[in-house]
């Protein structure tokens, strides 16, 4: 596509938000980085501009303005903050793709705070009924974004959602970030994807992967 898509990354100063922003700067996108800590998010933008002078990246201090301009919105915020963000952007996110990256972990990292029959993504969809919520970037650690090929293998990145066109668009984002996109199913699959990452986090702590680990489906 020639027409440049604008992506708002809400929470772009966090570990995941910054990693996603930097990796998407490789693509033909206009990035609007948005976070409450202006100096931190400016540092992320400066770093992107330094390594990729041609990248179109700006900081915006208001999630509403950034989302209003955006074609795609990435909610790179923890599960606990999703509700507040959703309330703010609800009107301007109407009909737009909103990516949920959150894993709703409890404080001790040994379980999820969501009920077994739902997920962070499905809860976000309830808060944004007219947006196209897509689960993505939740099965990859922040460090994976600078090293998407681990031990010689390109990490898979799973995507779930209910809108076919939106899934396709997000697949392209995932490819741009350097991962192998795998569309796992509709949004109800999100709970499984979030639990997969719970397991990976537990394994990481147990076997000390140093937060550089990912999933790869072996198949014929």
């Amino acid at each position: 596509m020639k027409t440049i898509q604008t992506i708002a990354i809400i929470g772009a100063s966090g570990n995941m938000g910054a990693a996603i922003s930097k990796s998407l700067a490789k693509g033909n996108y206009r990035l609007l980085l948005c976070a409450s800590e202006q100096d931190k998010v400016q540092a992320v933008a400066d770093e992107i501009k330094k390594s990729k002078p041609a990248a179109t990246v700006e900081t915006v201090d208001c999630a509403v303005d950034a989302s209003w301009e955006a074609d795609i919105i990435i909610a790179a915020v923890p599960y606990a903050a999703e509700e507040k963000v959703a309330q703010k952007i609800r009107e301007v996110a109407n009909q737009k793709i909103v990516i949920s990256i959150a894993n709703p972990l409890n404080d001790t990292y040994d379980g999820l705070v969501t009920a077994p029959d739902t997920s962070a993504a499905e809860e976000l969809q309830k808060l944004l009924p007219n947006s196209k919520v897509i689960k993505a970037f939740n099965t990859t650690f922040a460090a994976d974004f600078s090293t998407p090929v681990i031990d010689g293998k390109q990490a898979d990145a799973f995507i779930a959602g209910n809108d076919g066109e939106a899934l396709q668009t997000v697949s392209e984002l995932v490819s741009t970030a350097g991962f192998n996109p795998v569309i796992a199913g509709d949004l109800a699959v999100s709970g499984t994807l979030e639990r997969m990452q719970l397991l990976l986090i537990q394994l990481n702590m147990k076997y000390d992967y140093n937060w550089l680990a990912g999933w790869k489906i072996l198949h014929r």
């Binding site: 020639k2 301007v92 009909q95 007219n130």
Partner: protein, 193 residues
């Protein structure tokens, strides 16, 4: 954000507040800054843009890289590459913002769903396209049959708001004159006064 859209809609087809809420669910609010594109030639036109605020233009580029302006759109107007929107074939027009703009997009999926579920939307769209068709006929007649000065006068009389807001070379392109011809015409008209 969508006040003007519903004002215009209600002028043509009155809506109940429930119908208005139902239609609102399908609209995509989108801000565009000056010189940004909502559509580039070769891509499929995925949405009709209604202008809440600002000004846009649709243009095509010929073999000699000359731009030809097909349409302007200011507050209350819609703009798209209708052929591409309806057929999903690649667009032949570029559409960009001449001023910072606030748009409401009706995507193809939303459009089809609204046509299916909301008879008043179908009526509104029919009236909209009929109006656009009449405007196009008038413009075509003017461009093929009127002398340069009358084309310009008719444009400034029909669209005084646009004439104030867009540069002269774009008006020249829209009415099918070179900028030099338009400049001569304007000078002659000023001398006559």
């Amino acid at each position: 954000m969508n006040e003007l859209f519903f004002q215009k809609f209600n002028e043509k087809v009155p809506l109940t507040s429930e119908e208005q809420e139902q239609i609102k669910e399908y609209l995509t609010p989108k801000k565009l800054r000056k010189r940004q594109y909502i559509l580039q030639e070769g891509d499929v036109c995925k949405a009709i843009s209604f202008v809440e605020k600002g000004a846009l233009r649709a243009y095509t580029v010929d073999e000699n890289s000359n731009e030809h302006i097909i349409q302007f759109a200011i507050e209350g107007w819609t703009i798209s590459d209708l052929f591409s929107f309806l057929t999903a074939e690649p667009a032949t027009y570029n559409i960009d913002a001449l001023e910072d703009a606030e748009l409401l997009l009706i995507t193809r999926t939303a459009h089809e769903e609204l046509l299916r579920t909301q008879p008043k939307y179908e009526k509104y769209i029919r009236l909209l396209i009929t109006g656009a068709y009449i405007a196009l006929q008038r413009r075509l007649t003017s461009n093929i049959s009127l002398p340069a000065d009358e084309r310009y006068t008719r444009f400034t009389e029909t669209y005084p708001d646009i004439a104030q807001r867009v540069p002269q070379h774009m008006i020249a392109s829209y009415i099918g004159l070179t900028p030099e011809t338009l400049s001569r015409v304007r000078k002659k008209m000023a001398d006559r006064k």
